[in-house]
């Protein structure tokens, strides 16, 4: 099985408006190949809108989304998936009626070739493709994410933390070159958060996948991201290394209304405690 090679993603001057409301104004940033980039910002800053522009749900009114320099702004979501853009959702979007295994298998859809006739006959080619997929899912993904004990369960009976992990597994089955994670640890307890942080780092290191994530857990961001972009009211107000962003008075102001980075850290730590 081909090891995915990381891709660089560039968002260049993206503006998105709904009627008169500008959700994003001239947003530009870059996720370097093989890095972890975090997009942070207060609620309503436009973080998920950026993700929707990248995965193709929203068509920006101007600006471009570039994958390894190639403009993908005009492509429909399925085409972008085939190019290696995988994504998890803020409020888990698994298929509830299916088992964990089937959910993960679905991730590979765009890379498979079985056509309808082969499927109906379950021909040799279809059987081999299914077998290879099963092997890959079992031995690389389920093993890696430590979810072998739940593989045959329907996802609807799983805890929130495990569902998030299954969603990551499904995204990995897409053989992604860039992975968009929308609040991967939201609502998780400390132990689950630590597990997820470890998985995200491993995905970057071992799978060689570029990661772009939206997250509120500042501790996680400071720990694992290489680069941080801060959005507020649909505009990029700061970016840089995690430590630089943390010390930026503009960021503290966006979150608190006052420009004191120390107060910001205190507040965020308090939030993390809860």
């Amino acid at each position: 099985m081909r090891m995915s090679d990381a891709a660089a993603l560039k968002v260049a001057g993206v503006t998105l408006s709904f009627g008169g409301v500008k959700a994003l104004r001239d947003v530009s940033f870059e996720a370097k190949a093989g890095s972890i980039t975090a997009v942070i910002g207060p609620n309503g800053a436009g973080k998920t809108s950026v993700f929707n522009c990248i995965s193709g749900f929203y068509r920006p009114s101007s600006g471009q989304v570039l994958l390894d320099g190639q403009d993908i702004s005009a492509l429909r979501p399925p085409r972008r998936a085939a190019l290696g853009i995988a994504r998890s959702f803020q409020n888990i979007a698994l298929f509830r009626g299916m088992t964990v295994l089937d959910n993960i298998k679905l991730g590979r859809h765009a890379h498979m070739k079985t056509n309808l006739l082969q499927a109906m006959l379950y021909s040799g080619a279809a059987a081999r493709e299914e077998e290879a997929l099963r092997r890959d899912v079992e031995e690389r993904i389920i093993d890696f994410l430590e979810i072998d004990h739940i593989r045959n369960m329907p996802v609807s009976v799983l805890s929130y933390g495990l569902q998030k992990r299954v969603e990551l597994a499904r995204a990995l089955a897409m053989q992604p070159r860039i992975l968009l994670l929308d609040e991967p640890v939201a609502g998780m307890n400390r132990e689950e958060t630590e597990d997820m942080a470890r998985f995200i780092l491993d995905v970057k290191e071992e799978w060689g996948v570029t990661i772009l994530m939206v997250e509120h857990d500042m501790g996680l961001i400071m720990d694992i991201s290489d680069h941080v972009t801060v959005l507020n009211f649909g505009e990029v107000i700061a970016e840089g290394l995690p430590a630089e962003v943390q010390a930026d008075p503009h960021v503290a102001e966006a979150y608190l209304g006052s420009g004191d980075p120390a107060a910001l850290m205190k507040r965020l730590h308090e939030e993390a405690e809860h």
Partner: protein, 347 residues
């Protein structure tokens, strides 16, 4: 009792029937199907053939409505398209009957794709109404395109022929209808072992995230419509060879509702559900008729009194299933299986 399914290869785990009891029961069932035509009278053979034809149509509808989530009330109209196609090919082309059956499926599938086009924009009840509209348009065509359909009087169908023999009796037709049905049901089950079936279920459960996973919605919805109509077309084609005459009233709109009820009672989104649903819906009114006949000596005026009761009981049974077994008959079968899996250690 089965302790576990100790599979040694992934291929074995991806098989259609994964446990030994499943394979044994399936073998027994197939043997039973071989014996049936030798051991029942013509009337029951007629019922079995009709049931089998309905199984094909219901399985097709189940792929579209049960698995892909696109509600359709046009299945009977597609059966009619298949029946007319067979009639027309027999009359004007004289092609072999297996070719005609495939032709019936393909003609219905082509129309199914056209009818499915609105499905990208309209969902649920709105789609159901769109498919109703399509069936009425098709009915209009059947009545008025007289050169092909014979108008209101309909069109007679020559018997199916294999070299040296005409297939006219129920016994002979059984050996065509049953194998075709088995092949089509297995093919339907196979679809759901591959990426195409998973894509259908994904569209049903959450179409937005299906798109992010790289599943083009329109293409797959149309494919699902095409498959469902193909099944309806073949079912209609077999129906035409079975009854030997096709009129615009052969496939009334009620038939579409009958098929939808069949998959709901049987179990939406399971292959087994489509099969047992169609069997139940076809056979139950007949069984109730026998019950009425048995009790009639004790009830005065049985004929007039009990025949409406039969309809009411049938309706009541359907409502009962919806209320007490919303997952359908297939779920009852699964429960029995689970019970015997642990029997006698847990009861």
């Amino acid at each position: 009792m089965i302790i576990g399914t100790a599979k040694e290869s992934y291929r074995a785990d991806e098989a259609l029937l994964t446990t030994k009891p499943q394979r044994v029961w399936m073998a027994i069932f197939l043997a039973f199907l071989v014996i049936v035509p030798f051991s029942v009278n013509d009337y029951w053979l007629y019922m079995v053939c009709l049931m089998t034809i309905n199984v094909v149509a219901a399985t097709g509808l189940n792929i579209l409505t049960g698995f892909t989530g696109q509600v359709s009330l046009g299945q009977a109209a597609f059966m009619a398209v298949g029946a007319y196609t067979v009639a027309w090919m027999e009359r004007d082309l004289g092609t072999p009957f297996l070719v005609n059956l495939v032709g019936a499926g393909l003609a219905a599938a082509a129309l199914g794709i056209v009818v499915g086009i609105p499905s990208l924009r309209v969902k649920g009840l709105y789609l159901a109404i769109a498919t109703i509209a399509a069936s009425f348009i098709l009915h209009f065509v059947f009545v008025h395109w007289e050169s092909v359909t014979g108008g209101n009087t309909g069109i007679n169908v020559a018997p199916a022929r294999i070299p040296g023999m005409e297939l006219t009796t129920y016994f002979q037709l059984y050996w065509v209808i049953m194998p075709v049905t088995i092949i089509m049901v297995v093919a339907a089950a196979n679809i759901f072992r591959t990426r195409i079936g998973r894509a259908f279920i994904a569209i049903r459960d959450r179409d937005i995230s299906a798109e992010v996973l790289g599943i083009p919605l329109l293409q797959y919805k149309l494919m699902s419509f095409a498959i469902a109509s193909f099944y309806a077309g073949v079912a209609g084609g077999m129906w035409a060879y079975f009854f030997r005459v096709v009129t615009p009233e052969s496939f009334p709109f009620m038939m579409s509702i009958f098929l939808l009820a069949a998959i709901i009672v049987g179990g939406m989104g399971t292959i087994l559900g489509g099969v047992v649903g169609a069997v139940f819906m076809t056979i139950t009114p007949e069984l109730l008729r026998f019950v009425v006949e048995w009790v009639s000596p004790w009830v005065p005026n049985a004929g007039t009194l009990l025949s409406p009761v039969r309809t009411i009981v049938f309706g009541g049974l359907i409502i009962g299933f919806l209320v007490f077994e919303p997952q359908g008959l297939a779920e009852i079968i699964q429960r029995v299986r689970r019970f015997f899996r642990l029997w006698p250690f847990r009861t």
